[in-house]
């Protein structure tokens, strides 16, 4: 019983322990330290990296790079195909002109 009373008193004392508290004061030269922290944010190179490191900007840049890559690959593949067909038609016309096609030789053998 006594101990319970003691505990209750202790709880009330603890709850009231902030009575008469005075405001904690900021350590000296806070404004100087604040200015030092504010300064880099106005620096041009710093703000450039800040912009670049934003997720939205990085995503857009990556998408543009990916699109450019796809377009370049497409261009190279199409160019190659065109070159192959051009070479093929060249050989074909040469073979036709001198009657060197596989089918013609086969036909000749058949005729014999």
């Amino acid at each position: 019983m006594e101990s319970n009373k003691f505990t209750q008193q202790k709880i009330e004392d603890t709850l009231n322990s902030l009575d008469g508290i005075s405001r904690a004061e900021m350590p000296s030269f806070f404004y100087t330290r604040l200015q030092a922290r504010l300064a880099p944010s106005s620096d041009a190179s710093q703000s450039f990296w800040l912009v670049i490191s934003r997720p939205a900007v990085s995503l857009v840049t990556l998408s543009i790079l990916a699109l450019l890559n796809i377009a370049a690959i497409n261009y190279v593949v199409k160019n190659n195909q065109q070159k192959t067909t051009e070479t093929n038609t060249g050989i074909q016309s040469f073979a036709n002109e001198y009657n060197l096609t596989v089918s013609s030789m086969y036909n000749e053998n058949e005729n014999k």
Partner: protein, 188 residues
């Protein structure tokens, strides 16, 4: 410079006005943040963040509330953000100690520099119990007890009614009584 002129000058980017703002409100911001985060160095870092945010967003301040109310709101929000981050780190550390990867941290009571010497020990125990309160109860209790604000001012800062602040304070005290009861029954 009155408050209106100060806000106007701040919006114009006047560095002298910004210095005046910091000089006038630095202790208020620091004490508010300190009451929540309960760490001297961390409180200063957060106070810097508060003023940086003020500097960057003052152009959008329309003067619908008092400058001090706006500052209190930013200070409380920043302090609570830091507390949330700390809590998730603590949870991780507890998990690590539970699986045997780290050591369990000993709870150290915070000593507020403005507390009277006789009350240092008891206030340390109270500050530890305050950390375990739900956020709204914690804000109301801290602002009223450490900043000495009226229920009306706290209601304005928290954007709730005075009655709601009274209810928060009542619940905060009840919760603290339970937590202290628990503490004293384990430490006797």
């Amino acid at each position: 410079m009155n408050e209106r002129e100060l806000i106007f000058s701040l919006q114009e980017g006047d560095s002298q006005a910004f210095k005046q703002l910091v000089d006038t409100w630095q202790h208020m911001v620091y004490n508010t943040v300190l009451g929540i985060v309960q760490d001297v160095q961390e409180a200063e870092d957060i106070a810097q963040e508060v003023f940086i945010q003020v500097y960057q967003s003052v152009s959008g301040f329309r003067g619908e509330s008092k400058l001090s109310t706006w500052l209190y709101r930013i200070a409380v929000t920043k302090a609570l953000d830091a507390e949330r981050k700390k809590k998730s780190k603590k949870r991780m550390a507890n998990l690590k100690s539970w699986i045997g990867l780290g050591e369990k941290e000993e709870a150290i009571h915070f000593h507020h520099p403005g507390v009277q010497l006789d009350n240092k020990e008891l206030s340390g125990i109270l500050f530890s119990a305050m950390q375990k309160l739900p956020e709204n109860q914690r804000i109301a209790f801290t602002l009223i007890k450490t900043e000495g604000l009226s229920y009306e001012t706290v209601a304005e800062i928290m954007k709730i009614s005075v009655k709601a602040v009274e209810a928060l304070m009542h619940r905060a005290k009840e919760n603290l009584r339970k937590k202290l009861q628990n503490y004293y029954s384990n430490h006797h």
